[in-house]
């Protein structure tokens, strides 16, 4: 059997009595964009945090490119090629935006890749350019609007040149027009190639998002979580017709 790009097996995580991840199993291949949806508190962020090594699972396994990454340090996982954004943005508030991205560019992964190894600042600038906030490069991160903070999160994540990108609500707080732009950017990133000095591997992605309509346009597949349990996994149009999903998602007055 061919080795899977990402393979999650029987992942369990509970907070006190609450099962935030209940026996979750899924696989992904290298070029896939997967949408991860579910009602509030379904355990989407928890799943991303488990992959990133921010949380330790109670049991189960996560294999990335054939290697077990469970229990590894977050920075090791990032340097293996997984990057993520935070749902509730966590910028380095008192640092200029460019410095925020330079931190990612200073990670061992970013430093050893590409021919412009030394030009950290220029590379950070190109990541900002891609995210569309390069004109504010010298402003303090604390002065940014919600939408711009989202972009900063993306810039920071792509600056490590990941092969797997985990986006937690990239459209959150964006206006419809901004959402379209962001969706285009994500598509462009997924195609891969060069953006100035920044190289895109054309990363596989897991995108957590509540704005289903926009999400459907960019994903190849959708996974649905409810109370920590994976209840559906399939093509977008199939999944939205799934009665169990409708029950879980729309039954709670969602959308």
């Amino acid at each position: 059997m061919a080795e899977q790009f990402l393979e999650i097996r029987n992942l369990n995580k509970s907070f006190g009595g609450l099962l935030a991840s209940n026996d979750v199993s899924l696989t992904m291949h290298r070029r896939e964009i997967v949408g991860l949806i579910g009602p509030n508190g379904a355990g989407k962020t928890t799943l991303l945090r488990l992959i990133m090594g921010i949380l330790r699972p109670d049991s189960g396994a996560i294999h990335y490119k054939g290697k077990d990454i469970c229990g590894r340090k977050t920075w090791d996982i990032v340097n293996m090629g997984i990057a993520s954004t935070f749902q509730n943005m966590r910028p380095f508030r008192r640092l200029p935006i460019i410095a925020n991205v330079m931190v990612s560019c200073l990670s061992p992964r970013a430093m050893t890749r590409g021919e412009w190894v030394k030009r950290v600042e220029a590379k950070a600038m190109d990541a900002l350019e891609f995210a569309g906030i390069s004109d504010m490069a010298l402003e303090k991160a604390s002065t940014l609007s919600q939408g711009d903070l989202k972009r900063l999160e993306i810039a920071r994540a792509i600056a490590t040149e990941p092969e797997l990108l985990l986006l937690d609500e990239p459209f959150g707080g964006l206006s419809p027009a901004e959402t379209d732009l962001m969706a285009k950017s994500i598509k462009r990133l997924h195609k891969g190639g060069r953006f100035g000095r920044l190289h895109s591997e054309g990363p596989a992605m897991i995108i957590v998002e509540h704005k289903l309509q926009q999400l459907m346009k960019i994903v190849d597949r959708i996974i649905v979580l409810n109370f920590g349990t994976l209840i559906a996994d399939g093509a977008p149009d199939e999944v939205v017709k799934n009665p169990e999903v409708i029950e879980a998602y729309f039954g709670e007055g969602g959308i």
């Binding site: 921010i54 977050t74 920075w75 990032v78 640092l95 410095a99 330079m102 200073l106 950290v120």
Partner: protein, 346 residues
């Protein structure tokens, strides 16, 4: 000949365009020149002694800033590094007759090792817990000092250390120049790419990890570097006082460094140094009114922090310099436009 002339001219132009344009840089220049030239005007032993100690404590305060101000690892027991280095220097100087040329670096290395040892348990701690834990370390060591008086001299400490040099003037120049060099080094560290990472760790450690940075390594590095510079200060102190006692480990020693730094302005290196250069001599001057000394001192610090919460140096700096809203480069406050990009200031 022409080449030399060209070089001199180049340096001069650079000096004019880079140093003279900003009041803060001129201030640093005047400060350095004043320290170096002071003995030409006065060699009063009391004055020199105060300035020698001021320089030593300036190194100490800057080293605290490196760890706590920049990296955000709030250290309430910074005296530990100072004391470890002072005792190490003192003991090996007195018992093994090792000259101070070696004892001070060895003391600093002992402080680095201490940084590593306390850094590891401190890795998981944050904020209040970290502060309280670090507060305990020098007290534990003080307990050890009292427990083995045969080695450490107990309450009396170790005495009879070699002088730093034969004369007070030479002591003055050694400490002043070391202070300038080490401060410059620390400032360079914080101004480098490593400095950005240290800042980022203070702002949000988790976000820093998800950016692929091994925060453990950088935090330990901060502990060790800070220990090294504080250790040099401790070793110098030992040889200047020619005696090392438990007072080097006291809580007041740890707190003083925090007061100096916060007063001067943290996360800047130069702030804490300025803080020491203002507050330490002031405390000496206030000795003439011993009953009022603590009160005046406390009130002054309190008022400063109330009205200049960032510390005195950033406050002054904001008054005499303005930051360009466009390119973020600073210009003299009296200018109407930025000196580089000519955008309107304010």
């Amino acid at each position: 000949m022409g080449l030399i002339w060209f070089q001199i001219k180049r340096v001069f132009t650079l000096f004019r365009s880079e140093v003279l344009v900003l009041p803060s840089r001129v201030a640093v220049l005047i400060f350095v020149a004043a320290l170096v030239l002071l003995p030409l005007f006065s060699q009063d032993p009391y004055l020199l002694r105060i300035l020698i100690l001021t320089s030593v404590f300036a190194i100490f305060a800057a080293s605290w800033d490196l760890l706590s101000g920049f990296t955000g690892q709030m250290n309430f027991g910074h005296a530990l590094f100072f004391g470890v280095a002072a005792y190490t220097s003192g003991l090996i100087n007195v018992h093994f007759k090792i000259p101070h040329f070696f004892t001070i670096p060895i003391g600093a290395l002992a402080a680095v090792l201490t940084g590593l040892i306390i850094g590891i348990p401190c890795l998981r701690l944050r904020h209040t817990y970290l502060a309280l834990t670090t507060l305990a370390f020098p007290l534990i060591l003080m307990g050890v000092v009292f427990a083995i008086p045969d080695v450490t001299g107990g309450e009396l400490g170790v005495s009879g250390l070699d002088r730093l040099s034969g004369s007070r003037l030479r002591d003055y120049y050694i400490t002043t120049i070391l202070m300038l060099l080490l401060s410059f080094t620390m400032w360079k560290i914080t101004d480098s790419k490593t400095g950005i990472i240290l800042h980022a760790i203070r702002e949000d450690e988790l976000a820093c990890r998800t950016a692929g940075i091994n925060t453990t390594r950088y935090k330990l590095m901060a502990f060790c570097l800070s220990g090294f510079f504080a250790g040099i200060a401790g070793g110098l102190y030992a040889h200047i006082m020619r005696t090392v006692g438990p007072s080097t480990l006291e809580v007041s020693m740890s707190f003083q460094v925090i007061i100096w730094s916060i007063f001067g302005g943290v996360a800047s290196i130069y702030g804490p140094i300025a803080g020491v250069f203002i507050l330490f001599p002031l405390a000496e001057v206030l000795r003439v009114v011993p009953e009022w000394r603590m009160l005046i001192f406390a009130l002054l610090v309190l008022l400063t922090l109330l009205f200049m919460p960032e510390g005195i140096i950033p406050w002054i700096r904001d008054k005499i310099e303005k930051q360009c809203p466009r390119c973020k480069i600073r210009s003299v406050a009296i200018r109407k436009t930025c000196r580089v990009c000519t955008a309107d200031l304010d």
